[in-house]
Symmetry: C2
Subunit: 96 residues, 2 copies
């Protein structure tokens, strides 16, 4: 089981229509087979430099790979992520 998350900042103005469109598009990623427990997240820690997050769980590395290669994921990166995200950090956790 892999808990995949990404923390990021957006170029868009806070609470803008563009920000909303970004998260509307991100939520479509939850429909990719193998994506479990999908969440769009907002940072509330004053100690963390990243404002937003996406989080999901994959039962296996094979499902994670399938997600990465899926046309919906690739289209999201191309149409939304590349233009909107100013900096980010990915996290892939397995149980210790």
């Amino acid at each position: 089981m892999i808990q995949h998350s990404v923390m990021f900042n957006l170029n868009h103005s806070p609470d803008s229509r563009e920000e909303q469109a970004f998260f509307d598009a991100a939520r479509e990623l939850a429909t990719i087979p193998g994506v479990d427990q999908f969440s769009c997240l907002r940072q509330v820690s004053p100690k963390n430099p990243f404002t937003f997050g996406l989080s999901m769980v994959f039962a296996s590395q094979a499902r994670y790979d399938h997600y990465n290669q899926h046309p919906l994921h690739k289209a999201f990166i191309e149409k939304y992520w590349r233009h909107a995200v100013s900096e980010f950090m990915e996290i892939d956790f397995e149980r210790y």
Copy 2:
């Protein structure tokens, strides 16, 4: 609902007895009332600089505050965290 996590690196040698003792002590934090879905985590992303993680969920800020002030949490910070953790980043997420 707040998803609280912390990513960190340890001064201990990988898979050492000290590392094991650190996580054994960390698991006791799960017994603090209000701590849900407690997990000890290991990074598998080559793109993330933090090797380990702890993650938990609080139903409210009040429960989070209670955890922060709890003697078990304070003792863990004092006896284990301070000596063992070389760098860390906290993450507090709410649903977007």
